[in-house]
Each structure stands twice: as structure tokens, then as C-alpha cells.
């Protein structure tokens, strides 16, 4: 893919590329692939193999986790400039959740081979990438903790369980 000026400008506002120099960003941009999804199209399912992360350029993605039967819990909405699927990028583990398009979506795809090439050819850029990634991980961990607390509150409210009085 040609490192278009539009994509370069877009990537400057993506958290993990914020500290990249112009030439480094141009190299990364050249390695990104594009993919379009129509509304409600599934990108990958929980349990699928994967080694790519996805950056939302336009539209909204829904990340959901199976709960029971055909019911899944929506974990998060991924808006433009945000990304998802990074866990499989690092360890190649099966997808931990399902990703589907809530609206028509345009994605940019960063594969593991591109990340490894970046580590070898642009170590400064790779360090900035990993540093930003760690910060994002911590934020998501905090959000997961809040979600667990919220799920517990839902259960207590729904059952009317009187914990304080016990």
C-alpha cells in the first residue's frame, strides 16, 4: 500500500504511533493492509487463530464474548483511531472474543511479520510502539476491573441480595 498522506495524517492520531518520526511512520504505513467490512459482518470469532491487530479508520466495531447460547456480552465498542486484536499479535493465541462491525467499517491491519520487521529496522519506533502499548494494556486492565465490579453490582441488584445485612 502506498503511504498516502491521508493515512499518514490518520496514523499520527493513533495512540501507538503518536511518538513515531515521519520516516518511521511512513515505513509502518507502507506495511499496513486495508480491509472493509459491511454492517454486522464478523471479522473473527472467539477461538479463531490470529496474528494481526486492527486499527479502526472509519465506523464502529463491537467486541463481544459468548455468554450462553446465542447471547454474547458486548465488552467494548472500538471507535476510529482505536485498535483491537493486539493480544494475538504478540502471542499468537486464539482470539479471546468475537469482533464484528456495528456499522460499515474501514480497518487498517498490522501483521506480526510487520511488527517484527519494525523491531529490527526501526528499534526506536518499536520502543515507542511497545511503550504506548503497555499504557493501553494498563488502561484496559483497569476497565476490565471496573467491568467485573459492574457485573457484580448487576447481580446484586437483580437478585436483591441483602449482603450488608448478613
Amino acid at each position: 500500500m502506498q503511504a498516502s498522506a491521508e493515512t499518514l495524517t490518520f496514523l499520527r492520531d493513533v495512540r501507538v504511533f503518536e511518538l513515531f518520526s515521519g520516516p518511521d511512520l511512513a515505513v509502518v504505513t507502507g506495511r499496513l493492509r486495508e480491509r472493509d467490512l459491511r454492517r454486522h459482518q464478523i471479522l473473527f470469532r472467539e477461538g479463531d487463530r490470529g496474528d494481526e491487530m486492527f486499527i479502526v479508520r472509519r465506523g464502529t466495531m463491537l467486541i463481544s464474548k459468548a455468554v450462553t447460547g446465542k447471547v454474547e456480552q458486548v465488552l467494548v465498542r472500538v471507535e476510529p483511531f482505536d485498535f483491537f486484536g493486539e493480544m494475538s499479535l504478540f502471542d499468537g493465541s486464539p482470539r479471546s472474543a468475537t469482533a464484528q462491525a456495528e456499522t460499515d467499517v474501514e480497518l487498517l491491519i498490522l501483521g506480526r511479520d510487520s511488527m517484527q520487521a519494525m523491531t529490527e529496522t526501526a528499534p526506536h519506533a518499536a520502543a515507542a510502539f511497545f511503550y504506548a502499548m503497555v499504557q493501553v494494556f494498563m488502561e484496559r486492565l483497569r476497565r476490565s476491573t471496573l467491568q467485573v465490579a459492574e457485573a457484580t453490582r448487576w447481580g446484586l441488584e437483580a437478585t436483591g441480595l441483602d449482603v450488608e445485612g448478613r
Binding site: H40, Q73, E150, E157, D162, G165
Partner: protein
């Protein structure tokens, strides 16, 4: 401190064989209203009336015989305690409370639940005896398959919560006519003509059902399937009545009751905020759909060539429609249909069936004694009439089938 908003889950519900899905927000309050509190087993508690010359309203002492804890209950709390059988949801309990006391105290149910939990007088066991029995015998393949089938069927529920606009449009574009004097007169005339046609036809049931060509049972079952569509119409008219009284239709859909009874349903609980007349009209008009359809069917049957398929089909449809009318409006049949709801509303006894069956069971097992009170007479009357009615209903259907097949 400001109370936080109820917790919410956002759920994604997939449809069959496609990527399509629907997003639903489920607030904890929905789970709360659908929860079914269940009091502990009868041997774990005792309850007795507290008599006092000073107190105007009666009180009750509830004792947990396992922990030796005592609770003082007011009469409304005692009423709520009696509803907590594990099968009745909090929403239904609240509705019963409004019917009984004519008002609603928003704090009484949560505070009673807290008291009962602290005294360990509530349990969270499976809500149905059938499901509890299946759960106990899950090791057997057949039982496991049956449980799986029931669970799958219970999950089948096609419903829309956003139906108010649809029913308002239906009312505006002709539905309002159902609630005019002309419609009432036309219905009455049709009923009289239909009844006259039925009398003529019933002179010889065998001739009438000959059109099925010796396969009367199969013919009647086919008619039953067609009848199923009229159940949807019955529910639509309930919804129109709700709109007529300017109340909200909360839901309309299709589901399997108890996992095996297919049915359409409409949620018109908002009508409880209207007058008793509105509640009665809402209940009756839905059932009158069967009166009109049955009358039309009998008239068609009377006009059809004797012994033709058209006559047999129309006559069988008429019988089934009018049976549905009776089942819907006749309150004494152990089924909580429209007529039952009208009766308990008029009597101010929302738990009539539950109390009557419990009383009869106590008498039959020797655990209770016959008393001459008004309530006891009502309970015995309800059980006796319902038993006789169910027996008569079965006998009538057996007679119809035997007459047609011999």
C-alpha cells in the same frame, strides 16, 4: 449520597444462520422484576396471627424453626409472603398487591425481601417442580435430552418491546371500530345467528363431520392449527383495548409457555393503572374474537352442502372457536385466563386459585379442617366447580370425537 443508576449489560443476541444480530440493554431492574423469590420449605417455618386489643390491623409472627429467628409481619407483608412460592415473579407479586390493596407501596417488597433474607427464610431453588425433578435425574440420557429440549423451547421467544406505535396505528386505521356500539350490536346479532346455525347443525353431529371422510380426528387437528392463528388476533384485540383506554402496550410476541405450549401473548399490564371497567373490557374483548369467528364459522357451515368438506371444516372451526371462548371467559377451570382475571378482580381475591388449591390439598391430606368462613366456601366452590367443569369439557370433546368417528 446520590444513588447510582441501575447497572446495565449490553448483550448481543445472534439470529439463526446469519451474521445478523440485535443489541439489547438489560438493566439489573429487569432481572429483579423477573426474579422469583421462594420461601423456605413449610417445615422450616411457622406463622401465627398476633391478636391485640389495641392494634387495629392484624399482625403476624413468622418463626424460622431452624434458626429460631422471629419476624413481625404486617397483614400486607403476610400477603406478600404467601405469594413467594418460587413460581411468581416480583412483577406479578406487585400486581397482585395492587389488586388486593388498590395502591402500591414501592418500599414494601424490597424491605420485606431484606428482612426475609436476614432471617434466612428465602431460598433460590429451581422454579418449577418438573424442572427440579429433571435436574435431580440429569444422569439419565432421556431426562437430559428432555431437559435440553425444554430449555431450547423456552428460549424461543419472538417478541418486540417497541409495539406501542404499531398498536396505535392499528387503532387509528380501523381498530377503534371494535369499541363502538355498532360493533357490539353486530357481534350480538352474529352470535345469535351463529347459535341458531349451531343448533340446526347439532341435530346430527355425525352428518356434519362426514365431510372429513372418516378422518374426523385428523380433520379436527388441522382445524386446531388454523385456530392457532386466531389466538394472535385475540391478543391483538387485547392490545387495541389497552390503546382504547390510553394505556401502553409493552410487548407483543410468540413463545412456548412452560417450554411446550405454543402461544402468542401481549403485555397489557399497564391497564392496571386504568379503571376496573377498562380492565374488564380489555379482558373480554380479546375473548369475543372467538365468539365472532365461531358464529361466522357456524353460519358458513349451515349454508354449506350437507356432508361436504367445507361444512365439516367450518363446523369444527366453530366448535373450537366457541370452546376457546368458554375456556377464556369461564373462570372455573384451574387456568388463569381472561375470565379468571375478571373474577379475582371483582372479588378482590388475586390469589384465589393458589389459595383454593392449597386449602383443598390440606383438607384431602387431613392437614386442615373444614371451616364455615366466607373465604373457605369460596375456595371449596372454586375447586368443586373447576373440577366438574374440566371433567365436563373432557367428556364433551370425547363425545364429539366418538360421534364423528362411529
Amino acid at each position: 449520597m446520590q444513588r447510582p443508576a441501575p447497572a446495565k449489560f449490553e448483550l448481543l443476541v445472534r439470529r439463526d444462520d446469519s451474521d445478523e444480530f440485535e443489541l439489547r440493554q438489560v438493566a439489573s431492574v429487569v432481572g429483579y422484576l423477573n426474579s422469583r423469590p421462594r420461601r423456605v420449605d413449610p417445615e422450616s417455618y411457622e406463622i401465627s396471627e398476633l391478636r391485640s386489643r389495641l392494634a387495629v390491623a392484624p399482625g403476624f409472627i413468622l418463626k424460622n424453626t431452624t434458626t429460631d429467628r422471629f419476624l413481625l409481619l404486617s397483614a400486607p407483608e403476610r400477603f406478600l409472603w404467601d405469594q413467594m412460592d418460587g413460581a411468581t415473579s416480583l412483577q406479578e407479586i406487585a400486581t397482585a398487591y395492587v389488586l388486593k390493596y388498590g395502591e402500591f407501596d414501592f418500599e414494601i417488597i424490597p424491605s420485606l425481601l431484606r428482612k426475609l433474607q436476614r432471617a434466612q427464610l428465602l431460598t433460590f431453588e429451581p422454579r418449577s417442580r418438573l424442572r427440579a425433578a429433571l435436574a435431580r435425574n440429569r444422569g439419565r440420557v432421556v431426562v437430559k435430552a428432555l431437559e435440553l429440549a425444554l430449555t431450547s423451547l423456552e428460549r424461543i421467544r419472538i417478541a418486540s418491546h417497541n409495539v406501542q406505535g404499531f398498536f396505535q396505528a392499528l387503532y387509528r386505521f380501523g381498530g377503534f371500530l371494535v369499541f363502538t356500539p355498532i360493533a357490539a350490536i353486530a357481534g350480538a346479532v352474529l352470535a345469535v345467528l351463529g347459535a341458531a346455525a349451531a343448533v340446526v347443525l347439532f341435530h346430527d353431529v355425525r352428518d356434519m363431520l362426514e365431510g372429513f371422510g372418516g378422518h374426523a380426528l385428523r380433520g379436527i387437528l388441522t382445524v386446531k392449527l388454523v385456530f392457532f392463528a386466531s389466538v394472535a388476533l385475540h391478543q391483538l384485540v387485547h392490545g387495541l383495548a389497552c390503546i382504547h383506554y390510553r394505556r401502553r402496550v409493552r410487548e407483543f410476541g410468540f413463545t412456548f409457555l412452560h417450554g411446550f405450549v405454543p402461544t402468542f401473548y401481549v403485555d397489557v399490564t399497564d391497564i392496571f393503572m386504568a379503571s376496573r371497567r377498562a380492565r374488564v373490557v380489555t379482558a373480554v374483548t380479546g375473548a369475543l374474537v372467538h365468539l365472532v369467528l365461531g358464529a361466522v364459522a357456524f353460519i358458513v357451515a349451515a349454508q354449506a352442502p350437507p356432508g361436504s368438506f367445507r361444512q365439516a371444516f367450518a363446523a369444527a372451526s366453530g366448535i373450537i372457536q366457541w370452546q376457546a371462548l368458554v375456556v377464556a371467559l369461564y373462570p372455573f377451570c384451574f387456568i388463569e385466563m381472561d375470565g379468571y382475571h375478571i373474577l379475582v378482580d371483582v372479588l378482590g381475591a388475586p390469589t384465589l386459585k393458589h389459595d383454593a388449591i392449597a386449602y383443598a390439598k390440606r383438607l384431602l391430606t387431613g392437614a386442615g379442617r373444614i371451616r364455615q368462613g366466607r373465604e373457605e366456601l369460596l375456595w371449596i366452590g372454586y375447586v368443586a366447580l373447576s373440577t366438574l367443569s374440566v371433567a365436563a369439557f373432557i367428556a364433551f370433546n370425547v363425545w364429539i370425537v366418538l360421534s364423528a368417528t362411529h
